[in-house]
Each structure stands twice: as structure tokens, then as C-alpha cells.
Amino acid sequence: MTDMNNHVVVIGAGHNGLVCAAYLARAGRQVTVLEAAEQPGGAAITREFAPGFKVSAAAHLLYMLDENVRKELSLDTAGLSFSQQDMKTTALAEDGNHLVMSKDAVQGANISSEDQAAMKEYRRLMGRFARLLHRMNNRIPPRVGSGNRDDTIGLAKTALAIRMLGRKDMREFLRMAGINMYDILQEYFDNPLLKGALSMEGVLGAKLGPRSNNSVFCALHRMSGMQGTALPAGGMGTVSDALASAAQKLGVKIRTSAAVTKVLLQGDRVGGVELQDGERITAGTVVSSADPKTTFLNLVGAKNLEAGFVRKIHNYRSFGNAAKLHLALQGPPEFKALNQSQLGDRLLIAPDMDYVERAFNHVKYGEHSAQPVLEITIPSLYDDSLAPAGQHVLSAVVQYAPYQLKSDWHNGKPVFTGQVIDTLAKYAPGIRDQILHCELLTPVDIEKEFRISGGHWHHGELALDQFMMLRPVPRAAQYASPLNGLFMCGAGSHPGGGVMGSAGRNAARAILALESSEGQQP
């Protein structure tokens, strides 16, 4: 057993790359993580965007972190802590009659007792379905039609889990999983603000409107983390720092400012990687946490893959539609009729489902929304480290902002930023005068900063046709790839995006299982 064979290179120190590296190191492998940026974290980082103001640069809320990862890698002792947990969601109304949703109650906005009762049933049902997905999140997806015993058992387990919902709920699951939030929410509720807010759960980060099929699935996926919404102390960078330190403690070597430009091949298997400066690092196993298009089309190269596979990767839907807004504010923003304690909630601007759908309409024609939807947090309310005393940062996910804008983002960005601020000002009239600095990251910016092809924060749309044994595409959906020795561990693999770490953990298990069955490794 040579060192080269035991050496594993992980491309990218995003959360999944770090998780995968940590598990492989724990199993005795010699692991080097190569990160192009100056610090580890990928799209889960805290960075300064204006002098004195720091923000979670991409993902800004933690609601899916895999509890196995947290426990097994002892992240709490490695520095993970929260400034806020089980956050409430407040859906803003232009007239100030807001709706507040907590874990088990919904109040405000003249909500009827019927809607409150319906909310109980909706949460029970969606909760059951989310738990079903939750169990699948931690499994290596079975292959269909392989004839392999483990795959057959995996498929049977999945089918059984669905059947175990019971006849009534199973039928509802099979009916709902593929359809759209609009229809489901119309069945359950009357209150427009409630429906608007809930519909947003199904479209966040996706190229979907409330009326698009797959939006229920998207909402379930968000819920499948089974964690309350939380703000890490010090921003998302804290999660990555904890992961990096846990990995290092297990012997992982992390090299930053080391951009991989090529996966090197030896015949039909990988032999290592090449860095931007031409340095070559040999490794018998290469694990990529980069998105599928970057991994296969840029790093490996279409020439080194079979054409049918290249076509599938090329057709994988991975153009982002969410932008990220960062505001440095000279004081706490004042939203109409929102008290100080509510200001720290997760705030939504999605007044009704038609508003969200209209915002989405633009995307179909390569335009950005004229009246966008927003998911807002003001993390500095809980965290002094993010802004100078008395001043604040506002972080918001803004939709819709298509990667492929019909005009171009150079001209489109100032227009869109103006429209986003206009929308905010409808709810917080004085906010314009409080802005010290403003940063808007379009999917094109996200692509550039975080090296995600298409700038999709989930490394590709989360939909039934790009999930489980279909994510990213068949033949690469079990963390292995068509090239021997090359594996995938990022959000482009099952169970997809959201700061979870499950893909990294599953990938490590798949790699170790495959290699022990091949007898290649001790």
C-alpha cells in the first residue's frame, strides 16, 4: 500500500468537503483539502463587506445541519455556538398587520381559528413527510435496476418507509410530493399573508413559483433538516471554522489559496490534481465538493468522459435565481409596526401567493423581478461581532434574479438593487437614509466568488428529477463517478443543498465502503 494510494485529495473546503475529509481522516486516510479561497468555508463563510461590517456571505440561516455530523465530529466543542435558535418567522404586511409564526403557533394578521386549526394539520402532515425525507438524507441512494443486493434492499426500505405512513398519509404524500404549493395552500388556508409566507418555503433558492410543480418537494426538503432555524454566533463562518478545526484535529491538512484547475488522469483512473500555479499533487482518490458542472466539465473535461454522461451533466439544471443583499445600516431599521423583539425574527416579504408568482413570472423571460420577494435577517441584533456598536447589518435572500439575465447583470444590477431597496422601503420607510453600504450578489457574482457554476447555492435545482438516485445524474448519484477514484461529496449530490454536511458524510461512507469491497485500502 503506497502513500499515494492512501492519499486523498478533497477539492474545496466548503462544509461538505470538510465533513467528508474529516470522516475519511477518522478512518485512517491521509487527507489534504485544497481550497481556492483564502479561508475555508466555501459558501458558508462570514466576511467583511464594508469596513467594520461582517455578514454571512451566502447562506445566512442554519436549519439543516446534520445532527450526526454535529455529534460525531464534536462540533460543539470545536467552537459551534448559536446566537439565536428556533427563530420565529414574521411575514410582513405593508399595513403593519404582520403574521408571526413560531414552532407551534401562528398569530396576527387577523388569522381565523379555522386557519389556526388547519395549520396544525398542515404541520403534522408536512412534518411526517419531512421526517421521511430526513431518513433518506442519511442514506446512500440505491441504484435502480442494478440487480445489486444492497440497492434492492435500499429501494425496498424507501418503499416501505413510504408505505409505513399509513394508507391515508401515504396517498397524500404521493399526491403532494410532486405538485405545487399554490394548490396545497389553497386547500388548507384562507389568510393571504399566511399562504404567501408558506409558499415562499417552496421556492427559496429555486427556479420555481408557488404554482410550479416540485415546490412542495422543495419545501419538504427545507424542512427535512428537522432543526429549527438558527443563527450561528459570528455568522456562518463559525460553522465552517468548527468543521475545519474538527477536521484538522483528525489529521486533515487544509491548504487555502490552492485552486485546483485540473483532475489528472492515469489511463482510466484519477492520479491526482493540478493547481493553478502548475503544482501537481498525486492522490489515488480525489473527492470533489465542487458542483457537478465544474467537476466534470471544467476539472475533468468533457473529453475524458463518455458523451451520454456529458450530455446529462450539461443538461443538469443549475442556474441560480436567488441574489443576496447585504446592507450596512447606521442604526436598527424601523419596520412599520414591528417591535424590537420581532425585528430579530426571520422576516419575509411575500404578502400573498400571487405576489410571489408574479415575482417569479419575470424569470421565465430572462428578467429579474420588478417586485422581489425577500427573506431578511438582522444578525447584528444578537451578535456584536458583526457591526460597530449601535450599527447593524441586514442580510437578505432576494428573488428572483436569474443567472442568465436577458440584458446583462452589469446593467441590470443597479436597476435591480434599486427595486429591492424600494420594496424594502415599503415596509421600512426610513431604511434608505440608514444605508451606509450596500452589496448585492447576483448569481453571476455568486458563481465568481464561490466558484459555483451557474451561481446556484444548492449546486443545482432541488427537484424530484434531480434527487436521490438522480442527483446529479444517474451513474454519478452514489458519490462515485464514471472515473475510477473520482468521487463527489458536494451539494450536487444527494441530499443536496442547505448547510447540512450529509452529502459529505454519505460520500465518505460510500468511498470507504467501495474501497473495502474492492480490497484496495487497508
Binding site: 482510466d268 473529453k303 458523451a307 451520454g308 464514471p482
Partner: protein
């Protein structure tokens, strides 16, 4: 023209000059010469073109090809122009054989597969000059070829309508071309390509064909098609030259043991069930699979198949009696189902009823005997015969003149 360069598609298919939405089927550029010779007025269809099924009698055309020479219109065959700095790398990823071994001025027969190692089509690669190839096949593959172009610096263009082509096949074919004044034609070896001048027009000739006989294929711009036809028939007048249609060619190719799409195999990209597609090994084309190339479509699946063994064997059957075994079932002598006949004909040269058949592996050893179930009709009365058949090695008709250089003069 549909063109892909790297990841960029340049332009769109331009059918404006073809009027295809009105006519749907084009007359060949040789139509004005074919039409008066086609006494039967039986036109078949080959892709976008009218193609004579037979001009006078398929049998007579067959004998012209085996004993003198026959002219077959190849224009409808799908032709792709593949050019650019990555043309060789592109083809090497596309097809199973090592294209590097096909030098400029040479032609190579090959198959190409989908990722699952099942055959998409077979055809010929013409290496015209450095970084410039022509890929010929029976079926259409532009979508697949453009898919394959992703990531390569290569242009893929359908040039089917831009090249008129005739096959001149048979023992006197070389003599006819010599008579036409094409100097040194006799020094061409099988699979050679040469460029000639025909009355100030470029004429390309390759020593290739689909008959298993001595023969050539002649390639010219469509506006000179009639000129080529006229000069060929003038030169061939004393050499027994005859036009030949699809039916005669079908007999010739089975004698030569050549497989054909939609008979021996289906395009894997257009077939729903994987049990209905075939690998190169299952078509007896394992010799075309070069695993020493690090990557080509189907490599991984074919390596696995090589270890695991394949499902079918394509064999040549010599069948008792004189009834062509078209579409017949093949049984073991113990009357167990063993496979089906995919192409069958009476072979006038071998004086035997012959067939290509797909048998379930491990059936198909040379000399192995089977029963072929043949239904035939005599004066409206149907009869059935279980004819004895034997697997033969080698092709049914393989004259030395096929390879002989220089060919015999007449």
C-alpha cells in the same frame, strides 16, 4: 448548416434551398440518368432520397456486379464532415477503434456505441487530410455527433446533400476507371483514397464498397453528378456496366457478411429496451474495440461485458434447400429456441440459401447445427419446412480480386 465549435452552436440547419417541406423526398442528383434506365419504375426511399429498388431485374443487376460491374447511387448515405484541431481526438472518443491508425488518404470501418456499450451505428471514416474527416453511415446521427462535440474544438457538419456519390463494384470496375482516363487507378489498395481531376472537376475515389468484391466509390459535387454518370457509362459500355438498385445490393452484402442497421442491430440511441440493442461483441466486431484508448463511449461497459461474457452471437448460416429463410426462427436440433435470422437470401455465387442470424450465447460455434423454420408459399398454399442449417466460418463469397492490387485487367 448546423455546426458546433467547442460548446458553441454556430448557425442553424438551413433547409431553405431544399424545399423539403414541399417535396419531402428529393430526387438524387443522378435522377435524370436513373429515371430512363429504371424500367420497373419502382422507387424506394432511402433517407431523404428516391432510390431505385431495381432498374430491370435484381438478379441481373446482381450478376452484373459479380461478373462485370454495376453502379449504385450512394448519394443518400449520411455523410458528416468533421474538421478542426480536435477532429482526431473527437473521433477517438466517438468510435471504438483507434482512429490514429487511419492515416490521411485511408478509410477505416468502425462502429460507435452509446455509454452503455451498445452499438449506435457502423460506418466508415474517411481521413481526407490532416484534421479533416468524413464519417459515413446509414442512419442519421447529427444530434449524437453534436453532443459528442461538447468540449472539443471541432466542427461537425451534415454534408449529405453536398456530395453526390456512386459505387462502382465488380471485377471490371478498375478497368472502367482506367478507360475513363484516371491514371494509376490500379495501384490503389483497398481502403485507399485518391483525388483525381475529371474535366477540371475534383473527383475523389476510394477503394471501398458494400459488396465484398473489387470496387470503388466515387465522390463528386452534385452539380457534376450527371457528368460523372455519363463518363462512367461511356467508359463502361464494353465492360458490361449496369445500374444496380437496393435489392441486388441486399443480396451482395449478405454474401459478403456485412451487417446493416435495422437488420442486425438497432441504433442504441433510438431503442427503448436495452435487451434489444447489441454490443460490438454481439455483432462479431470485437476486433474493432480498442481498449488501449483511455476513453471512448462505451469503454467501461464493454470492459465489463468482456469479463462477464456477451448475450448473443451473430453467425452466418448455410441452410439446406433453396427457400430464403427470411425472418425465421432458429432452433437447436433438440428444437429449443436458439435465435432468429436477421438477413437471408439465396446466394447465386455460393449456390446456397444463406443467412445472418442472431443466436443466444453460447450458441454459434463454427459447425454447430440448427433447424431453421421457414414458411413459404406455393400457388397460395403455405408450407413450412424445418431446414437443417450449419454455422459457417468466414464469408460466403470472398473472391481474391477483392484485395488484389493491381486488379486484373480486362
Amino acid at each position: 448548416m448546423n455546426r458546433i465549435s467547442g460548446n458553441k452552436t454556430v448557425g442553424v440547419i438551413d433547409y431553405s434551398s431544399k424545399d423539403h417541406y414541399r417535396t419531402k423526398v428529393f430526387p438524387s442528383p443522378f435522377y435524370s440518368r436513373q429515371e430512363p434506365l429504371n424500367h420497373l419504375k419502382e422507387w424506394g426511399r432511402w433517407a431523404d432520397y428516391l432510390s431505385p429498388r431495381a432498374y430491370t431485374s435484381a438478379d441481373m443487376e446482381y450478376f452484373a456486379c459479380r461478373n462485370a460491374c454495376a453502379v449504385f447511387d450512394l448519394t443518400p448515405m449520411t455523410k458528416y464532415r468533421i474538421s478542426g484541431a480536435d477532429a482526431l481526438a473527437y473521433l477517438n472518443r466517438l468510435v471504438t477503434r483507434d482512429v490514429e491508425k487511419i492515416k490521411p488518404g485511408r478509410v477505416g470501418y468502425t462502429v460507435w456505441c452509446a455509454d452503455d456499450g451498445r452499438v449506435v451505428d457502423d460506418g466508415t471514416i474517411f481521413h481526407l487530410r490532416e484534421n479533416r474527416y468524413r464519417l459515413c453511415s446509414q442512419e442519421r446521427h447529427l444530434d449524437w455527433l453534436l453532443t459528442n462535440a461538447m468540449g472539443f474544438d471541432v466542427a461537425v457538419e451534415d454534408e449529405t446533400h453536398e456530395v453526390a456519390a456512386l459505387a462502382l463494384q465488380g471485377p471490371t470496375s478498375c478497368a472502367v476507371l482506367k478507360k475513363m482516363g484516371l491514371g494509376d487507378i490500379e495501384s490503389m489498395k483497398p481502403f485507399d483514397i485518391r483525388f483525381f481531376d475529371l474535366e477540371n472537376t475534383g473527383l475523389m475515389i476510394s477503394r471501398t464498397g458494400f459488396t465484398g468484391d473489387l470496387g470503388y466509390e466515387l465522390w463528386i459535387e452534385p452539380q457534376y453528378a450527371e457528368l460523372l454518370w455519363d463518363r462512367l457509362f461511356e467508359a463502361g459500355r464494353l465492360y458490361g456496366i449496369q445500374p444496380m438498385g437496393d435489392e441486388a445490393l441486399a443480396m451482395l452484402r449478405v454474401e459478403a457478411g456485412f451487417i446493416q442497421a435495422n437488420h442486425e442491430f438497432l441504433n442504441a440511441n433510438a431503442t427503448v429496451r436495452s435487451s434489444h440493442t447489441r454490443s460490438p461483441f454481439e455483432l462479431g466486431l470485437g476486433w474493432l474495440v480498442h481498449f488501449d484508448k483511455p476513453n471512448f463511449n462505451g469503454r467501461k461497459a464493454l470492459l465489463e461485458e468482456k469479463q462477464r461474457g456477451h448475450r448473443y452471437n451473430l453467425v452466418k448460416l448455410d441452410i439446406n434447400g433453396n427457400k430464403p429463410a427470411t425472418d425465421s426462427y432458429v432452433f437447436t436440433t433438440g428444437k429449443k429456441f436458439a435465435g432468429t435470422v436477421t438477413s437471408a437470401t439465396w446466394s447465386p455465387s455460393a449456390k446456397a440459401s444463406i443467412a445472418l442470424a442472431t443466436l443466444k450465447a453460447p450458441h454459434g460455434r463454427p459447425g454447430e447445427e440448427f433447424l431453421v423454420e421457414i414458411y413459404y408459399q406455393k400457388e397460395l398454399k403455405w408450407s413450412r419446412v424445418m431446414a437443417r442449417a450449419r454455422v459457417v466460418e468466414g464469408v460466403f463469397f470472398d473472391p481474391p480480386r477483392r484485395r488484389q492490387t493491381p486488379p486484373a485487367d480486362f
